[in-house]
């Protein structure tokens, strides 16, 4: 059986956690065998390395739409060390009237309510911040963002959603 999990020093004498693919030795110096690596760094010009971050689920739930109406969900705003607010990536599963399930990635977000992109059965808008926990305008304390689903035909029976924080740099 191959060694697949390393927590400690690797072949370069660097502390890390690494996981290899099934049947592959995690001690290999070939990065292609790894499925997880805490030592992902990148000095390529033009952007800031993510450091190997992954999606982090910050909130999930199920909403029940009604055609022609809206559903609203609030989530604690995501703010980086520079004080910039970032809109989350939103992943939805739409259960349609035919009981089919289709995965649709949320792709529209913003602070101002200026336009919309259509998803299956509904379109969504995400606001990164500016609200309190009950939907009023933020004045102090924790800021919240908002996701609004506006339903279109065909109506969906339910929508499961995940709000994901991602390490996007401008």
């Amino acid at each position: 059986m191959a060694n697949r999990v390393l927590i400690g020093k690797d072949a370069n004498n660097v502390y890390c956690m690494k996981v290899s693919k099934a049947g592959q030795n995690v001690l290999s110096t070939d990065n292609s065998v790894l499925t997880f690596n805490t030592r992902i760094t990148d000095s390529t010009s033009g952007y800031t390395s993510t450091g190997g971050r992954s999606f982090i689920v910050i909130q999930s739930g199920v909403i029940s739409p009604s055609s022609g109406t809206q559903s609203v969900v609030y989530f604690p705003s995501i703010v980086d060390n520079s004080g910039n607010y970032t809109a989350p990536f939103i992943h939805c599963l739409y259960e349609k009237e035919t009981t089919d399930v289709g995965a649709v990635a949320g792709y529209y977000w913003g602070y101002s309510n200026d336009s919309a992109g259509y998803n299956y059965g509904a379109y969504l808008q995400a606001y990164s911040h500016g609200f309190n926990s009950s939907g009023g305008n933020w004045t102090s304390g924790t800021q919240y963002g908002r996701i609004t689903w506006t339903y279109k035909n065909p109506a969906a029976l339910s929508i499961s959603y995940y709000i994901l924080a991602v390490p996007v740099h401008e």
Binding site: T35, T50, Y85, Y107, G110, A116, V166
Partner: protein, 145 residues
């Protein structure tokens, strides 16, 4: 408090490293209860996730490229979604992102190439659309497809 981290021999999934959701005993957890399981066939980590600006004049073809460290991964899952174009504002003093609906304004092709065992290259090409500086977010995950 539930035991949430197991490094060793899981009763159902064998040797590995496992982390369960809050409130779930890692030893009794099923696949749906794991935050992390080293036995997964892959993990999702971003090799790159960045806004790649592209200024399109309204005609012809414009191409931009961005290289990244690919850690010798073969064809990876590429994620593209949208953020602000220069024609929109955040509506706030801080940098909240505002979307341009990608397909409504331009026609784009995204290509991800394994340039070498250490370098990958993402090529973003616009062939049609409104004259605008587009700022799509382009992500490259470690997930090999």
């Amino acid at each position: 408090m539930a035991n949430r981290i197991l490094i060793g021999n899981h009763p159902n999934y064998g040797y590995g490293c496992f982390v369960s959701k809050p409130g779930v005993n890692v030893q009794g957890a099923n696949i749906d209860d794991f935050l992390f399981a080293s036995t997964s066939i892959n993990q999702n980590q971003f090799l790159m996730l960045e806004v790649i600006p592209l200024t399109y004049g309204g005609s012809g073809t414009v191409t931009v490229t961005q290289q990244y460290a690919n850690f010798n991964k073969d064809t990876q899952l590429v994620l593209v979604y949208t953020s602000a174009g220069s024609g929109t504002t955040a509506g706030s003093a801080t940098n909240a992102w505002v979307a341009n609906t990608f397909g409504a304004f331009g026609t784009f092709t995204i290509t991800n190439t394994k340039t070498s065992t250490s370098v990958g290259t993402v090529t973003l090409q616009c062939t049609a659309g409104s004259a605008l500086t587009y700022t799509p977010v382009v992500g490259v995950l470690t997930l090999e497809v």
